[in-house]
Subunit: 482 residues, 4 copies
């Protein structure tokens, strides 16, 4: 096989059926439409990595399935080193793009999760899911697909289970000769506009009554019956303007409407086996949350750089802000290395894939919901007033033939006004604009992570340690009622 | 006199010369143009307060100058109670508008600051500035003006003083029969599109060499030679759309281009008396930063409310999030009451105006640069994925005849999808959208505040207390070199 | 009357019956015994203040009851200024003593609280409690008493009310001709060893079934039937050593054992009127928690000074640590001025006493449970390794004829080893030694304060504000079940 | 060889010359004297681990030098797994002892550091240091020694280098036939009272002028000319009392006085090769700070357990405090797994030993100077008033024949008073007593770590990434002067 290039990737995208919409209009070609082309550009940089001598070893690897060298985001991670490389790749991609390249992330994690889960289902029930998954994964490898991953259901009323509000969770509604029929929604799905395929997984641990929702499968992005509506994001209107108030990269997050979509049998990887969904969620979140610290670290690296730019543009040495810059670095490295620690503390699943340690992975999720906010705050603090909320005239105004020269003079400091404006816009984009990736709830909420931390921490055992040290030899039981 | 109504206010605004621009086009009528009408609506609510029985006592007061009942934002604050009312009014306005109503704030503070400073200049130099200011202030009162305040200069290279880069600081460039001629910029000025008048003050403590920059005056917003370009803000493009993705209220922040503007002599309140600018900055920041805690508290109140809405809309009792909601309240009340404390610890200036305590006012500025960020973070955490970055389709998409019904179903939870969408958009607007007021650097940076805290804290005295307690009777001097 | 001196104070203490114990031995004379003399010295400094021209106006005031000039801690606070002076006095006393002078604090607050509550009881029930209180308070004023205040009951199992475990709450067990008989415990009572009188109040809002616990009264510290056992505190053994490892000041906190103590009728201020206890707790905590921010600020001032000393002793300019020192000052001034704000936002009780605003006072309690911990941490960080846990040989070792000279040389830096040792011991004492006052739970727990914050914050009203801004016109009700 | 038992260990200690002092008196037998026996007991538990089937694999390992199974703390760490085991062992030891077992830690790290550095010196200069080190290390293994590590010099004036104040840094002052003569101090050395041998290393990166201070060697703890004075620690006086106010475990930290001590040549591992000291410090701190996160996690585990005990003892379900307990766990796991990440990101030194990644190891040091403080604060908050500062009568008072029964009743809640008292004392000991290990400055200060973070973070590279994203193609240089 041959590794794909950004041109290959774009050509394949351009050939898809135009089933993506935003602002109540269709996107004819995702590679050209300003609504989606920034996300495509971000993903292009992942392909570029495969051909860049400095990045090649990170962005490609030898497939455990085929033995070929493949784009790493299509590969199974059979060692802790492979999972560490997942984290490193994401950090690097954030550095290259400033934001989330969702289709080089969630689908990848989904394949690995399903590899483990199909193993369990097959072992337990004698099904043949892993064989199907293998066939599909080999295609993904050889064609160098970008694969978005779709887990999050609409969920409706959070106090009620799926079975009491089936319309809010994607579900199997029938079968045909070729396969199964699915209906419903997946929401807030990253990278759909930039992907070739979508890998769909259940979004929750399901019970018997919910079994129709226990379904996993892969589909081309332009499958019949599938409609994609892209969510709006902060300042997304700027992406339609013709000026440099936003970077060339970007993200998309979609609402998927499945209107009785037929999924061919060979692309179905789970169907109504509800009791395996708890493990599916467990494996998915452990690996996802171990690696997410690298994402926010990579974006934090860019924020540190943007802060340095702003300081210099304002005429100040970045040394003036050294404590704040170090604090930003501390935040970045904490979520990054904490995730690496979670990977290291993990274990190999019988199917071969490496699973990160759940406890520390979820601890990382909690930190990811806090430390990057502080990093953003520091970036804005260093950046000054025009950076904090991008408080300067638009690029269109800076180019005005009437008063543009005056604005540019007003913005000039240690560098020309246009340069300072660009740096300020970058800070805005990263901290309060379209570049903010939604890392707090992406892949699940911090409170959900706290529940896992609580469940996995042996507080009773710790109380026993404390009793022993305190010289208490009688039991100190939990009261009946708190 | 009669208190003005929102209709009076709007009529007066509509009559002004159209010297405001954004996106390289002029604003014909600020009350109608979507670029500015939200800010006008915000300020309208201040006038409404004067006629609302529940708010009247807060939004109006008896003028110490005329004895008339006036809009409070036009009044001099001759008591701590009056300054506390300034803080309370701002908190209430934030609750009514969700964001900053800049023209009911900075100009007000500027009048009070100038009252004290003109007293000092007149006492010292025998000038007659305070009489001019009185005359203008009486007009402001009787006409019920909104007065924007303009301090921040373009500043250029932060490592160089104004005299080395005069073009970056507003300055007097000449005199005519009627008055003085000024040239240069004031930047990031709040509320200009919603004001009748602009009160201009120096933005820094100036030295002898900088004396041309020591100038204070008042001008109608549409003065000849003045061009106003409004800065863009996060997601400001939405304000041009015709749907409910943003509230009816809003803010503006302007870049002012003074192109040899003539200021009539009776409207000049300081001219080249550079040595009084240090006090001017001191008084302005003390009162401004004492009261700013109320602003962020008021916005925080709305965030707490929006978080409650989102919890309920998601089907969850707000009790689930009680710790986070209490934490939000703690943040809000801390900056609010800390500011009230700073006011209480202040003192009366010989001119009559009440000045807040500088040390604690600047401490409040430091807190304002941190606690609201945490409040926003908590609001996003409670709000969930669609609130964090407003990750849901646009209102245009929700209204789509083709797929809108599906999106609305996907968004329905404990309340209809449209309602949940509005609540999520509010969280987005408050925390990562156009409603974010730029409170970190507004009125000066937190690092500037830290410098004041450092200067005003008697660390040597504290070291002496420590020596006495430690039983150290020999001196412990500062080393030569750190 | 004449203001008392430290000599008067000590003489009166020395005359009391020796009913105080620690380490299973009695204290014959609290002014001389090393177990208690440091606390007495701390309180002496309050009397010194009354005779110090620089402090006299703060440490004394004119009594609203008698019109005499009295020690301020014996006075009723009939104005916000008076309550602000309470806060200021505490900050000053912390600066003078480094720690808590409990008997110049809680009793004072108790008198004011009872003034309001006896007014309510008398108005409602026609009792004559306030007259008794007035008589006793006039004695306290004229004799210049130190009055400890005792609220906290033993409480036992926190999940059960007093009526289900009467032995754990002080209670009325009978009456005699002269008065009432009380039995039980008050625990963790500050300043008992240094007081002349103890003012006892209920420690909780009580219900009908608990009415025997609704009792308030004053007693001489050496009343018959009262046994006082002083709690041990961190490093309290050092106070028995004969060397300078601890300051000359200090605190005590006592367990009071009431063994059928007879309280004369004229000293009883509440007896079984349980329904007034909720207000009693409300008034007490509001004023106490408004002022407690000043206590921790005063100790923080000393910590900032000690940190400066250590930096200099280590040979470093305090400028090296300017950011950390400013952060310490920010913490100190925040709790101080937030409390002043709470006082300012308060209101006058019909009885005349000024009551701080409950919401913001409890917010201050929450901050007091956090910010001083950060201040201590910073003090230890600046102080270095020998300061962090006082990690250096004891004073006895430094004085060793065998190896003391070597240790002193090892400790010498920019100042002689002994001086550096004293500064390090002060940091230890303040941050991890006997000087730590227990401000987190003193006067009630932060979680209790959070409950009040939650109850007093109008979250529903805030949700309505948010609905209005979001353009939501249908109700968003709280779900049945969270 | 045979693994040693606690009895073997104690017997070897008891045979040493009594050169340890505290409170100006000698310690005849460290295993019996209350001044030191708690530290000995802590270290005994490390030997116990070698014989406990559940812990054996962690507390022992196969020596890369001899191939024998040895106590792990005597081994070289030739793989990342071996270094992870170092971290895991420390966490476990903290769980068993509640505090620092210094002699099972620093010496171990020192051996590994010297293994790498002697390799470099030998390679570069043709010396034979590693052979000497191997011989000594094989003895340490076979005899199962506890080895304290001594790095920290007295340092004197921090603004001056060793060469300008040689008395404040240990130094070579001569040579004899057998070896070298050393003089000076090492201070704050953990575990000396519980060790057989002391491994001495330079405490700073040294320059040419400082070369006499570049010396590393091993000595028996009771070497001629060496005097050890133990530092006092918070509440250390209690260890001399005969009651349960402190646990059976403990720590010591010593000042070492080298009075012209002769070190035999075969025990000298570095002598005046100053230019290798920078690497020595680098390797030492990288591995030490990667693993220190496990220490504080282990103590934090005990704090979580103690908090659970206190909640239950007070009659409250630990569920009431679940958010705080989860926060404690998040802190513990963050420093632990962040350290594991630093190890994983490290690399193998040419000598064979595994070196942790410096950047993330120093980031961990910064977190260790913050997160455990918050964990302690939470432990005190959950624990309540008697736990916060151990505010209850001493064990001697609880046992008083006169009033002890009353105190015990007063303390009884959901468990008997004595049990509740023990739990409260444990919280005190862990958070504000002798159990606090001094982790902020132990092994170097957080500000030192920040310097490394700053040096190792490629801020310029990050600025370039930001420029690329912002579309800035001109340089934005650092200004001349900040």
């Amino acid at each position: 096989m041959t590794l794909k290039t950004r041109e290959d990737y774009r050509a394949a995208l351009a050939a898809l059926r135009p089933n993506i919409f935003k602002f109540d209009r269709p996107v004819a070609d995702v590679t050209a439409d300003p609504l989606t082309r920034r996300s495509v550009e971000s993903h292009c940089r992942a392909y570029d990595g495969a051909h860049d001598p400095a990045l090649r070893d990170l962005f490609t690897c030898r497939s455990p399935l085929s033995g070929d060298v493949v784009h790493r985001w299509n590969s199974l991670s059979f060692s802790p080193e492979a999972l560490v490389a997942n984290a490193r790749l994401k950090r690097e991609l954030y550095r290259q793009t400033g934001t989330c390249t969702g289709a080089a992330c969630v689908g990848w994690n989904g394949i690995n999760t399903l590899w483990a889960v199909t193993h369990e289902v097959d072992q337990s029930l004698g099904t043949g899911y892993q064989g199907r998954l293998r066939d599909w994964a080999l295609q993904a490898e050889s064609r160098g697909w970008m694969v978005a991953g779709a887990l999050t259901d609409a969920k409706g009323d959070r106090s009620r289970p799926p079975s009491q509000q089936p319309a809010h969770y994607l579900r199997v509604v029938g079968e045909t000769a070729e396969g199964i029929v699915v209906r419903g929604y997946k929401v807030m799905i990253a990278g759909v506009a930039a992907c070739h395929e979508i890998l769909v997984l259940p979004g929750a641990a399901l019970r018997e009554a919910d079994h129709d929702h226990a379904v996993a499968f892969a589909l081309p992005r332009d499958a019949d019956g599938l409609t994609v509506v892209e969510a709006r994001r902060p300042s997304d209107g700027r992406e339609l303007e013709d000026h440099p108030d936003v970077p060339a990269t970007g993200i998309t997050q979609a609402f998927l409407i499945f209107n009785d979509v037929v999924v061919p049998r060979e692309r179905v990887f789970l169907c109504r086996e509800h009791r395996f969904t708890a493990n599916l969620i467990r494996y998915f979140t452990a690996n996802y949350r171990a690696c997410i610290g690298a994402c926010v670290a990579g974006q934090g690296d860019v924020m540190a750089g943007a802060a340095v730019l702003m300081a210099r543009a304002n005429g100040l040495s970045s040394r003036v802000f050294r404590d704040k810059l170090v604090e930003m670095a501390v935040n970045n490295e904490t979520t990054y290395a904490l995730g690496i620690g979670a990977i290291t503390l993990g274990e190999r699943h019988p199917s071969g894939v490496w699973l990160a340690d759940s406890l520390t992975a979820h601890v990382n999720k909690v930190q990811v919901s806090r430390l990057p906010y502080e990093t953003k705050r520091l970036c804005q603090e260093i950046g000054g007033g025009i950076a904090e909320t991008g408080c300067l005239p638009s690029a269109a105004d800076l180019a005005s033939p009437v008063y543009g020269h005056a604005l540019r003079e007003a913005l000039t400091a240690a560098v020309p006004g246009e340069v300072r404006a660009r740096a300020a816009r970058l800070v805005e984009w990263l901290t309060i604009g379209a570049g903010v990736p939604g890392c707090m709830h992406g892949g699940g909420s911090p409170d959900g992570a706290r529940l896992i931390v609580r469940a996995l921490t042996p507080f009773d055992g710790y109380a026993n340690l404390a009793s022993a040290l305190a010289g208490i030899d009688s039991p100190v039981p939990e009261p009946e009622e708190g």
